[in-house]
Symmetry: D2
Subunit: 245 residues, 4 copies
């Protein structure tokens, strides 16, 4: 691990961290957990990274940690229901206040993502090792930086439409799957002052987070989702600015 | 009241109906409640209208009522917190399943609107009798049917930006206020199969719902928000459609 | 042909009509031209339909015809360059004034579509008889009325991303192709008061316009693209509405 | 003028530069031309800036200049028609290829902006010295960096809705004017790989470009519109990626 610069973005990688402790198949790819793999390649991109997991006190997401987080990455799957509502509210408030949020793969069903979307975030799925080809449909978007027309993942879990999300503000990727489905795989949103990116790949039994283009997209997404400095928003009862009424 | 045609859209006008029972100022404009005024002009537009209010059993929104509702109109203000969560979930499920929802004025803070938006829906406000001028910024949109460049409301409560909503899929109106503020006053969204329209005007102490252009917009919005017939969406584990994987 | 009702939408189906006169392969599917096939199924949907083709005087698009057209359908391919610029300007002015426009398949490269989009509208293509599966990603949209999660076309020309268009205001369909590509196949836009829908399928050597779901989508699109009545927009130098400056 | 860093963004400020040579009123604010004022504050933001004007050979926009430009700023008003079509095509090609474009004030009627928008870009206007208050409606967007809820310009030319543009991909600012109008004053678009920002303020007879928040927004917009590195897009006939058709 190299030291990041003092002005580096501060990233917290949150992982449920359950599969990795119980499944040898998952351990084979992520012996120290998915969060550690992600944290490692983010550090190589000169980001200031810490990790947090479900079974830590307050899921590792104390107010202090969140206040010191510019962008939060979220991976969860089998234990969405165990994430406590008051922690979800805490993350939610920080997103509206400007913290970026990058939601990965099965995080589509996390409490925080569903709360921010206002929909069920349901989808079709199949664990069949389809090839996934992610086509870039917004080639000028910062999250597509460095990519060509598409990139491929040899084997992945399939996610298929209809994906029950609001229409993305920007749709960056559309996935093609061998079995005949498509999926909106890279979707940008704004909620309050916060930027949100959903990125589809990342099944726990496959080496997806070791894929160089997947890593590139996540690094790009972190940089894109960085908070925008500005004065706090003002709400509530307000006097007139013009005097003639 | 005229009988609507058998194929007329079925509209339920929901009103909190508290202000009207306690305030002579409000009664002066809406002696039978805001919902009755709205229902009356919707019936003149050949819509099949019923009403429902907070203090009825299940807030008047039984499963049977919602299943027989194509478009739900929502007005609430002082008692958002009294709307029971299970009724909110029931309305939410129907919206995702295709029922249209038209949220009026102070309904911006209702549980159902905030849940569908994924944001606080907070804003600035002032009860100062500003003039409001609603400018049409999407003149080809069905909700602007019959309007010119703008219409005016002589006196209204001011709502000002920043309005903490997701960027509208279509922004139809922007309001100008005497006191110096602007507001995104007509905003279209889709959640699941359901269409949602937020429309700003309608303070309870003012005769806004007797204004012909306000009525026109609400009628237009109901027609726009009508459900789109189609087969149910399918989610979950799914076999491959193509055989080669 | 049945008579349409007096209030039926007036549709003009424009076709280049060159392939059909020279190719037996095309004639096999469209003996009277693609425009005639399209006009026939539109008439069955109670629309008031006429046709126009490139080699008629003024390409069949006189000012009188356009003034009496609510929605124009456009199919062209080998002779885009022969469409005269003044006719393109005439169609353009009518779209901005509210006439709907449905652009089909190879019409992506037409002068009128490129002018309205502001981009090259270029794409990848392959005449290889791929299967095309169109997934519905906006199931609540009127253009998806009556459809399920997807529909299939047994053989079609492939169009692949990147499709150089502005991000659609609403993306209704995404196509999957056997050969590994995806495509944004149903895209909604507004320009001025006019609604525009681009719909991908329809290669001249294939029976695509005899496919019931393709026909359904085109009928839906015509209804969606109908003009919105309203007062003319006002531009230019304007006096102040408020007196205090 | 300070030297910019070797990695600084390369900005070309294009100005029609006619008003400033003939009007003492304009000279009072911009003695060396609007382009020089803009170039000066961009240089203070560590950008690598050059200028170009209409009456230079090729309007100062040779292929070499454009190839060495990351973001182009455009101010024009009285001589839009004198900009040669082949130069417009050259700029257009560079935008689609990724060069950013920031269009200021009366540049709404420039050939390049209208070509990229696909609409007339017409609007209402009045030279009456209204106060303009620009409200931030996308507070998390990079172009709003450093701002509060709004900023004011003491006197400006009024531009009013309806503004005949496509719905912005992101709407950043809405202007309020004393005389009763509103305007979508900060609008983001993507065309091809290029990012485009339209920013309303900047009448030639007023000191608008000396206003610190106006300068801040233009600096923010240049940084936002910077090209996204990536491989060239591929179009045209393409072989199948999957072997089974």
């Amino acid at each position: 691990m190299t030291a990041s610069s003092p002005t580096a973005l501060r990233v917290t990688v949150w992982n449920e961290f359950r599969h990795e402790r119980h499944s040898k198949e998952v351990q084979a790819h992520y012996p120290e957990g998915i969060h550690t793999t992600i944290a490692n390649f983010l550090r190589e991109a000169d980001l200031n990274v810490r990790t947090a997991t479900l079974d830590e006190p307050e899921h590792g997401l104390t107010q202090e940690v969140l206040d010191a987080t510019d962008v939060l990455i979220w991976w969860g799957h089998m234990a969405h229901g165990e994430v406590r509502d008051e922690i979800v509210e805490r993350v939610y408030a920080r997103v509206l206040d400007g913290m970026g949020l990058v939601v990965l793969h099965s995080g589509h069903f996390s409490k925080i993502f569903r709360k921010l979307m206002g929909t069920t975030c349901d989808l079709k799925w199949r664990e069949s090792g389809d090839r996934e080809r992610l086509w870039v449909v917004a080639p000028g978007h910062p999250i597509a930086e460095g990519l060509g027309d598409y990139f491929e993942i040899e084997h992945e879990e399939m996610y298929g439409e209809h994906f029950d999300i609001p229409a993305p503000e920007t749709l960056v990727f559309i996935s093609w799957f061998t079995g005949g489905e498509v999926f909106r795989s890279g979707a940008c949103y704004t909620r309050g002052r916060g930027k949100i990116f959903y990125f589809r790949p990342g099944h726990e039994t496959l080496p997806t987070y070791h894929h160089s283009d997947v890593q590139r997209v996540i690094v790009n997404a972190v940089n894109w989702a960085a908070p925008t400095p500005g004065k706090p928003r003002v709400f509530g009862n307000t006097p007139a600015l013009e005097g003639n009424n």
